[in-house]
Symmetry: C2
Subunit: 292 residues, 2 copies
DNA sequence: AGCATTATCTGACTTTAGTCAGATATCGCG
DNA sequence: CGCGATATCTGACTAAAGTCAGATAATGCT
């Protein structure tokens, strides 16, 4: 049982039984699993009834009854949607929030126990990130975000750390031409984060300027998400953003110590040009004309 | 959402939905999940009705009805157990085997598709092994096996490959004092493999001799299973085997390039002794007196 | 205003899963 | 042989999940 397929199937069996255990523990709060799932979906911020139904894959009749039962328990309230009175919006009552926290606490303890029982903590977490990214690759969402949001700052931190590891001389942001956050916000520019579920796994910045071109900055993909074509998706999104901002010419700088980046640019219509700034880190410069 | 617990929970969500997808595809064969699970348990070699019931955690009434429905479909037959007519033994009919293969094919294709869709194949497999080992650590079974079984040879192959990587001068089995398989079979000795589900993840050999002592050889734990105390469990099992064989003195040789092994021996009652053989690879020698 | 579309809800089901109290047959052991 | 233990089965339930055909109400578009 050593071939790749058997290994995947062994993994499936192992997680199936672990997942089953969590479901069983959820039953411990005296509520059927279906109702518990709806309650948790609402707790995690999914308020729109239709959205919850899609997310959980429920029939509309069933969904309606589950909502009713949670309402009867006094855990949720529903209101008509502001802009469309056909739609309903659910929210937790005070009691619902308590109940939701109890489920959250169970999930958290279970996760903590798993981590505490095992000594290869960092290796396990990296393995989990990798597998989760592979499993959810079709559900990676690219979202425009503020360059100073938690998600963006996480990505940038990881990006700088990686440059520090990969450049022979290390990397110090303060020596680099660090773009101003405001140049990566509309209307000057844009900052796009790739989210897999709740985890930021990649980013790219579009930095506007008044030199007649905008720059692509801080393209980063988490190690656990490489090989999924995410770099290309981020670059496309950045180009789309540039188009909506009426920008026709893009430039970027990079370093030959990051060969996969250079490779990506060369195969997606970028053209090498002479140095156009005095940042000490980059040694490769590219330009791309985009058409609206 | 970057703290360890959130990462574990993101992983949980990702695999939950993947596992759910497989369950749904199992429904595609027009049979409720419960019946499909019983059929697959039988196909995987679990024939005893009680064993299946335990494995799947079913009530005896429910189990009985599921068996009956599979029988009505003509997929299985049940007979009284040879030695105990109260127990029943189930087996697949020809049609049952066909149906089972159809489920197997679905599981295999799903696994293959997952591997094919992702480029980091080896990294993914290693991550899956690691997580599966961590999740099933309580269910790792140590089994005495023939040193020439597939499982044993897999372990030995991995062991030699690892020595090759860790010894500065590499490792060539033919230069080492490779123990004869027959010295690691009863009644001379023993060979023990640690199985996690169907995957061999560790081994140890007990090599009998006529010098008044036996040797511990080929202690190996798969990288994905380190940190679970498996080395110690394997050593204990080998000592137990020695006791049942009436052996009172154990020796072993090892190399200082494998510090975790030396550490294990020192903390479990082994005492360093002078070189007792002319094998070119080891540079550390230990001995342990065991009491019956 | 009229009408097809959309979102949700209600009522009337069926199927699946699970529970529990006996019934039946066999076994191990004195 | 007799008796308590064990393995499975049957019947009679309940609960949960899921299905489906309308009903109701609001919306978007002409």
């Amino acid at each position: 049982m050593l071939d790749p397929v058997s290994r995947v199937r062994r993994f499936n069996r192992a997680v199936t039984s672990a997942v089953g255990a969590l479901d069983t523990s959820f039953l411990g709060r005296g509520r059927p699993l279906g109702a518990a799932r709806v309650l948790n979906a609402i707790g995690h911020g999914r308020s729109d009834v239709g959205e919850i139904r899609d997310y959980l894959g429920l029939d509309s009749g069933l969904m309606s009854r589950l909502l009713r039962s949670l309402e009867d328990e006094g855990l949720i309230e529903t209101h008509a949607h502001e802009d469309d009175a056909r739609r309903r919006v659910a929210s937790l009552t005070r009691a619902g929030k308590r109940e939701f926290s109890a489920y959250e606490a169970m999930s958290n303890t279970q996760a903590e126990r798993f981590l505490a029982r095992n000594s290869q903590r960092e290796a396990l977490l990296a393995a989990m990130d990798l597998i989760a990214s592979a499993l959810t690759r079709d559900r990676i969402a690219l979202t425009e975000m503020d360059p100073q949001s938690d998600e963006a700052r996480h990505c940038l931190g990881e990006y700088y750390a990686e440059l520090g590891r990969r450049f022979k001389q290390g990397f110090d942001v303060s020596l680099s031409r660090d773009p101003d956050a405001k140049d990566m916000r509309r209307p000057q520019g844009s900052f796009i984060v790739a989210m897999s579920d709740t985890l930021p796994i990649g980013c790219v910045g579009l930095k506007g300027s008044d030199h007649g071109y905008a720059e692509i900055k801080r393209l980063w993909v988490a190690p656990s998400a490489r090989g999924l074509g995410l770099g290309k998706r981020l670059m496309n999104a950045a180009e789309d953003a540039a188009r909506t901002l009426g920008i026709a010419l893009l430039r970027l700088d990079t370093n030959s110590a990051l060969p996969e980046a250079g490779q990506l640019y060369r195969t997606t219509g970028w053209r090498e040009i002479p140095r156009f700034n005095d940042d000490p880190y980059p040694d490769l410069f590219f330009e791309k004309q985009i058409r609206a």
